[in-house]
Symmetry: C2
Subunit: 403 residues, 2 copies
């Protein structure tokens, strides 16, 4: 079931306040760099974290807190401008202090506060600035400040990313909201993806966790800008219960559909705002032996620099699609394989059909949202992964000297 999203963000669901303030972590006048998301009462909480083994301090601390609280949280405190990653014991202390100060000011326990950071790696977190700035973040909290929070978590994202959706559960209107930041960071020079989601449904933490993992698998985990995986990635979801609706097995599918819609809009926003991106590319793999193989093949194609540069250049180079699928280490039968760019099939059952190439080239030039499809000829499973093209601008952004 596809759910349409609505305008809104993390404060669209009832029971949440947010703020975004500047505390001097980023350079430059008036830059927002501290975001606070607070629930009026302890909210059920779920989170997924980066699989990178060089886990940043805030990831370690948020994991600990989620475990200690048994899946409940009152607030999420996020800074941009410094990732607090590869910072040793000092970094862990800073992340813990950030949570403890927030807890003290909100009147809750430290383990009820989750922490996230994004920005330059290997630099000590300016914890004193955050501590001095926290009271202003508390003072600015409002149920209309979701947009300010969405701006405060940005690094060099070209635009803020917010989304919301509505559904009816148990006869009551329920809202889901979210904000995210993506991969467009000159300062940090590392693609960190952060997303924060809220709902005013009530849900036990295990059910919330299941819903979050289900939605993330086909959205945030199905996008790739450059195949990198940050030390700081996380997606967090808080459920306030303020709608009066309690999530049960009956409403679960509708809730997951709405949550997935919000996650998809945020995830595609991250790809659209990818470093140097000019095109959003949906890579669909069909005819795979298993769904996992379909996803792996789609990721290999989506991360192929030759595929990404070809689409950037408007070249209907189906050979690169087939070659990328061939090296994905999944079941693949060249004699039964096919490849299409948009609706134009350029390779079918192992044979080229280049007569459609001029049309495919026109399609690539005319559209900002591109669909490519590769059939592996090995089964009936499929999957879609989203990516962006690779431009000279990506290289320029990432090669600029870190000041």
């Amino acid at each position: 079931m596809k759910v349409a999203t609505v305008a809104g963000g993390v404060t669209t669901p009832r029971g949440f306040k947010a703020s975004g303030v500047g505390v001097g972590i980023k350079r430059g006048e008036g830059q927002l760099d501290l975001a606070l998301l607070a629930a009026d009462r302890p909210a059920a909480a779920a989170a997924v974290f980066t699989t990178n083994r060089a886990q940043a301090a805030p990831v370690v601390v948020s994991r600990e807190h989620l475990r200690a609280s048994g899946g409940f949280a009152r607030a999420i405190i996020v800074n941009s401008g410094c990732a607090n990653a590869c910072t040793g014991e000092q970094g862990l202390e800073a992340a813990r202090a950030m949570a403890a100060d927030t807890a003290r000011l909100l009147g809750c326990r430290p383990e009820e506060v989750l922490v996230a950071s994004t920005g330059v790696i290997g630099v000590a977190l300016p914890i004193d600035r955050i501590r001095r700035g926290l009271p202003s973040a508390i003072a600015a909290l409002g149920d209309d400040q979701g947009a300010a929070a969405a701006r405060a978590i940005m690094t060099t994202d070209p635009f803020p990313k917010e989304s919301a959706a509505r559904l009816v559960a148990g006869g009551r209107p329920v809202a889901i909201g979210g904000m995210a930041k993506g991969s467009g960071m000159i300062e940090p020079k590392l693609a960190t993806m952060l997303a924060f989601l809220t709902t005013d449904a009530a849900a036990p933490p295990p059910l919330l966790d299941r819903a979050l993992r289900e939605a993330v698998a086909v959205t945030f985990n199905a996008i790739t800008v450059d195949g990198e995986c940050s030390t700081n990635d996380c997606v967090m979801l808080l459920a306030s219960g303020a709608s009066g609706a309690t999530l049960t097995d009956a409403e679960y599918p509708a809730f997951v559909s709405a949550l997935t819609a919000v996650c998809r809009e945020l995830a595609l926003g991250i790809v659209r705002g990818g470093e140097g991106a000019t095109k959003l590319i949906a890579v669909t793999v069909t005819g795979a032996a298993t769904e996992d193989e379909a996803r792996r093949a789609a990721k290999t194609i989506a991360n192929s620099p030759l595929v990404k540069t070809a689409i950037h250049g408007g070249d209907p180079n189906w050979g690169r699609l087939v070659a990328a699928a061939g090296r994905a280490d999944v079941a693949f039968d060249l004699a039964r394989a096919s490849a299409a760019i948009g609706p134009m099939t350029l390779f079918r059952d192992g044979q080229p059909h280049d007569e459609a190439a001029p049309e495919a080239a026109a399609y690539l030039r005319a559209n900002a949202e591109i669909e490519v499809t590769v059939h592996l000829g090995a089964g009936s499973a499929s999957a879609t992964v989203w990516t962006c093209d690779l431009s000279a601008e990506y290289v320029r952004i990432n090669a600029e000297y870190r000041t």
Copy 2:
């Protein structure tokens, strides 16, 4: 044992002749596009082929011939300008015809001829031009024509790649020679790596195969330009026995060292000539749990666009090295990890040492050959992988419209 290479190529070992001629596959006046390497008598042969499952017709045919001949070959015929990949049954027939015609003209059996192609994918091989041109390739054969053959296998490689080494085996002088082409192809727009090696030692095919695999593992399989793996990659080795020396277990280590030296020189030439490359980067991973994990971590770092762009931009961004190692899915202990750029250690035992960053930046700017080292803190195994930087020129080359 490191062996120094000498000037020379595939005709440096006795018993081989080569030629490079133009038969009109590539556009443009006087372009060499057909290379022939012929042994005076049947030579022991070994080969390794691409692991891509979309295997090109010449790969399929060469595999068949090597099996049918029991590991012997009289000649290798190679064309550039057309990969004969994704070309269906017609492509297989063309590759077989190319071998059969060469065999007829040389007076040997078709299965004694190996075939290779490089160039644009999904386009029918102009087999008539090759057949018409073959007599001129035979007529041009000479034991001083290795350089012409090395030029004829190029696509947009910026320079030809040849190497040779000498050793003494069983009291007799033995030579090893080789030529390779790499990844700098606008026309094919797919990075095909081809390498052809010769020796005048005599060796049974199984021993030759073992020596080739051993040398390839630490040379051609330890380089990466963009993580792509072509439909046409192959490395072939012929042993003529014309030196009168027969390879035994006693000489095997010295032979492998010399073969590895030739392969390394050719492999590093491919990286130096990588599309848009301005720097050769040696990525060494130490402290790994196993050699396989060391190699995988080194490949993940070497293929990281963030690492490659940072080095291109002269940015001593050790955080990207650590983050890439962290996502390589190998044993990794952040608290015991370290990272160095050249001789400057910028991260040690989980703590930043940015005081060396200015020196590291100067090192990156001053050198065309860069060494980076990441210690995983998980064991004592190590491996080195070579790559090049990622420049805006790479994007320009690969985004240009295929005419």
